[in-house]
């Protein structure tokens, strides 16, 4: 029966080539636009560290003096002061914890003929590597002991290793970083988390840093900083001093699989209470403990333009569907006399409905396939854009299946009403008017 319906559908298409092409193209455009924007949205809003994102928490607290505290003022990106970050780190209440900041440093070449270049750097503490599952190709990361000793060591990316040592294992070698000698102790494997959730004050998307240096060492050597820093008082000893009234550090903690966040929260509440006791401030401290996805959500990591594009494309799809419904309806009802004959010859309403739904389904699937092509083209265009997330716009299997799901769903949706109308054609009237 299905083969017969397919045959009928093909005949019908051949009779109205221009109209069929118009319907297919309309669906293809709608699907193409929707899938392009949906894929970008899907990529940007996906979990950057699956399996662990539930257990990694960003810690925020407000350490302003009471005179400047404003309970209505909520800074979503609020960072930690060095004093608080180092205190929490020392207490080590979570399974792992790391504090960090970023900057860019100048690397001097190791071989003659090369020129100096600048790379992005991250200054952090030992747990950073195991906590974020950072893969190492050679050597090892530094230890808490190195942090304490302000060790002159660095872990470099495989790209920097390639640039400096032509891909040979660079561990044990010494490099010149902003005029200072550091020993390479580890080389990363390819590592790129997108979005770079661990620090949203620098570029949110892109490659990971090229060089990682112990925080204490970077402070000793006064390496340049980037990202945001907020100071609320005089800083005679410099803005990065332990006592400086400046919020500029990211603090992350990993909680054990079994332990719950409520316990860690109580611990932080306790920490705030001790600040109250010490007379640092009296306000509540605006404590926040957010896991990776909550953190990304709160900071609107998906650019608002991408959201807008998504809504625009879905609106476009609705219009394309309305268009297709109208055209299918007109087409089906024009064949009322044919339907009348079929019904009079004994076809049930259900078979008529099925026949026309098959016809609509073919239009939809053809449009969907063409739409997939358009979506791939659309994504290629997105990748050419200068936005920093552009290179990530690739279709994955989920989105591929979703495309066909959407195509089939929309064509059935578009076909249902016209097919319903077709099945209610009264045979007697049609036969009479012949």
């Amino acid at each position: 029966m299905l083969a017969y319906y397919l045959n009928l559908a093909l005949r019908s298409f051949r009779r109205n080539k221009a109209l069929t092409a118009l319907m297919v193209l309309t669906i293809a455009l709608g699907i193409g636009a929707s899938m392009t924007t949906l894929t970008v949205f899907h990529v940007l809003s996906s979990d950057p560290i699956p399996g662990k994102s539930e257990r990694l928490f960003y810690v925020q607290m407000n350490a302003l003096p009471d005179s400047q505290y404003d309970p209505g003022d909520r800074d979503e990106l609020l960072q930690m002061t060095r004093l608080d970050a180092e205190s929490l780190l020392k207490q080590g209440h979570g399974k792992r914890q790391a504090m960090m900041s970023a900057g860019s440093v100048v690397i001097l070449p190791t071989a003659a003929g090369q020129s100096a270049f600048r790379v992005e750097s991250r200054y952090t503490t030992a747990d950073f590597f195991p906590m974020f599952d950072v893969p190492l190709k050679h050597g090892h990361a530094w230890s808490a002991r190195d942090d304490a000793d302000h060790a002159r060591v660095a872990v470099i990316s495989s790209k920097l290793n390639q640039q400096l040592f032509g891909g040979a294992d660079g561990t044990g070698r010494t490099i010149q970083v902003s005029g200072q000698s550091l020993q390479v102790i580890g080389v990363l494997n390819t590592w790129a988390v997108n979005p770079r959730f661990y620090d949203l004050t620098n570029d949110e998307f892109g490659n990971s840093e090229e060089i990682f240096v112990p925080f204490s060492t970077a402070m000793d050597l006064a390496f340049p900083l980037s990202g945001s820093m907020w100071c609320w008082g005089d800083t005679p000893e410099g803005k990065t001093a332990l006592s400086a009234p400046c919020a500029w550090l990211q603090y992350w903690t990993e909680l054990g699989a079994g332990s719950d966040a409520a316990d860690y929260r109580r611990y932080l509440d306790n920490y705030i209470a001790r600040q109250h006791d010490a007379g640092r401030f009296k306000h509540p401290g605006d404590l926040k403990l957010l896991n990776v996805m909550q953190w990304l959500d709160r900071n609107h990591v998906v650019p608002s333009d991408v959201r807008l594009q998504l809504w625009l494309a879905l609106g476009f799809l609705v219009i394309c569907l309305l268009n297709t419904i109208g055209l299918l309806l007109a087409k089906f009802l024009r064949r009322s006399s044919e339907i009348g004959v079929r019904r009079a010859l004994g076809a049930s309403r259900r078979t008529v409905f099925a026949q026309y739904l098959v016809e609509a389904g073919i239009v939809g699937l053809t449009g969907g396939s063409l739409g997939l092509g358009l979506a791939l083209l659309g994504l290629a265009i997105v990748r050419k854009q200068p936005a920093d997330y552009a290179p990530m716009a690739h279709m994955d299997l989920t989105m591929l299946l979703a495309t066909f799901g959407l195509a089939l769903l929309s064509s059935l949706l578009a076909g249902a009403l016209p097919a319903w109308q077709a099945m209610h054609v009264t045979p007697a009237i049609q036969l009479k008017s012949q």
């Binding site: 455009l29 100048v106 100096a116 006064a222 410099g238 807008l308 109208g326 087409k331």
Partner: protein, 408 residues
């Protein structure tokens, strides 16, 4: 033209009529809002900075390690840069417009104030900074030569005793001292700061916070070391900008200590503006594309549906023609029918456009849809409808009266 027969025909095709009206309504709503968004983006892209952008180039050098002599090196750099033929002025500044560096501070009107009165961006600029940027001083005076002091990393004097003069952007001056002349007033930003001048416009390096703060800026005189700033050159002839950038890079490479002087860190202000607004431009083009495709799809829908109606009514048209209707009257019939459908769509579409705008306003920092976009959308759709219907309507008018005498 009698409207009643058209209405009664449409009533017999309720579903198809509803669908086409809905399609037009959605198109109208999306197109109105898209046009509005395009307008917003274009306006943003063209926002002036107050700088003489077409004559400006910038370059940044990175120090390698600590340079204790940086201030002297910077002085030498600047005099070498000023000596390049075609350079009218050169200066160093802590942050450039459209750059990624960006300092924000608070301004107080009284020394003992807890919360600052306004938040603004703070520019620190060396000698010649005003001439280089091309700022227009509308009130007060530019900085005097003796007001440019050397930048100190760890100031020995306490901030309270510093009394660096400041120049405000007009928008900020108006915000702090509404209706008064700001020149001669005192502010508390970094110590005690007398206002010596007001420039007509100076903006933040990047959009930060509320858009109303975009043109809140202060300028302070300070001879920065190269490690803390960017060199800006104002050229006499915009055609010479690339050549001058090249010469300047060469000059910096051969002067002073070994530093990282990369052409990646050198660009014209126009290049900087262009790349800063990349996303907005992309979005505007995308919206234009969507509008065009949307209107084409809608037109296709109108053509398709009307063609079917014409085919379906061929016999009736023939009868009308046989009874004496002229070709013109048949043509008019379909044109009027289309006008009615599109008008109904537009009426519904305007309500929808308004609703979408409300939604956008709640989610994005967007003003209300100006009413002028509604007639623009309406005219566009009316025209589209008439163009789309013309071809099927002409086919209808071409139906010969003899059809009436044949059986179907």
């Amino acid at each position: 033209m009698e409207l009643r027969p058209i209405l009664s025909t449409l009533r017999r095709h309720k579903i198809a009529t509803t669908l086409i009206v809905l399609e037009i309504a959605f198109s109208c709503a999306v197109v109105c809002n898209a046009l509005f968004l395009i307008g917003q983006r274009l306006e943003r892209i063209q926002r002036p900075t107050g700088l003489d952008e077409s004559h400006l180039v910038e370059l940044h050098v990175s120090g390698i390690g600590k340079d204790s002599d940086a201030l002297a090196v910077t002085r030498d750099d600047l005099s070498a840069l000023r000596a390049i033929p075609g350079v009218r002025a050169a200066s160093i500044i802590n942050q450039t417009v459209f750059g990624s560096n960006f300092g924000v501070s608070g301004i107080s009107l009284r020394p003992d104030q807890d919360k600052p009165t306004a938040t603004e961006t703070r520019y620190l600029g060396g000698t010649q900074v005003i001439e280089t940027l091309g700022l227009r001083v509308v009130s007060g005076r530019p900085f005097n030569a003796n007001e440019f002091t050397d930048f100190q990393t760890n100031p020995t004097s306490t901030p309270e005793s510093s009394s660096t003069p400041v120049i405000l952007s007009q928008a900020l001056a108006e915000r702090l001292f509404p209706g008064q002349n700001a020149v001669g007033k005192t502010l508390y930003i970094d110590g005690t700061n007398p206002v010596v001048g007001v420039v007509d416009r100076l903006v933040q390096p990047r959009d930060n916070g509320r858009s109303a703060q975009y043109d809140y800026a202060v300028l302070m005189p300070s001879n920065l070391p190269y490690s803390r700033g960017t060199y800006l050159l104002r050229v006499a002839d915009p055609a010479q900008r690339q050549a001058i950038l090249k010469t300047a890079l060469q000059t910096l490479r051969t002067h002073g200590p070994t530093r990282l002087v990369s052409s990646d860190d050198a660009r014209t202000l126009e290049q900087a503006r262009h790349s800063y607004y990349d996303d907005d431009r992309t979005m505007a083009w995308l919206l234009v594309t969507v509008c065009v495709v949307l209107l084409l799809v809608t037109a296709g829908g109108i053509v398709g549906l009307t063609s079917f109606w014409v085919q379906q009514r061929t016999r009736q048209i023939g009868i009308r023609r046989a009874l004496g209707a002229s070709k013109r009257q048949i043509l008019n019939y379909f044109q009027t029918e289309n006008l009615m459908l599109v008008s109904a769509g537009i009426a519904l579409g305007m309500l929808l456009a308004y609703a979408i705008n409300q939604l956008l306003m709640s989610k994005y920092e967007l003003p209300r849809l100006p009413l002028m976009y509604l007639p623009v959308g309406a005219v566009l759709l009316w025209a589209l409808g008439q163009v789309a219907v013309f071809w099927p309507a002409r086919k209808a008018a071409a139906v010969p009266p003899a059809i009436a005498t044949r059986s179907a």
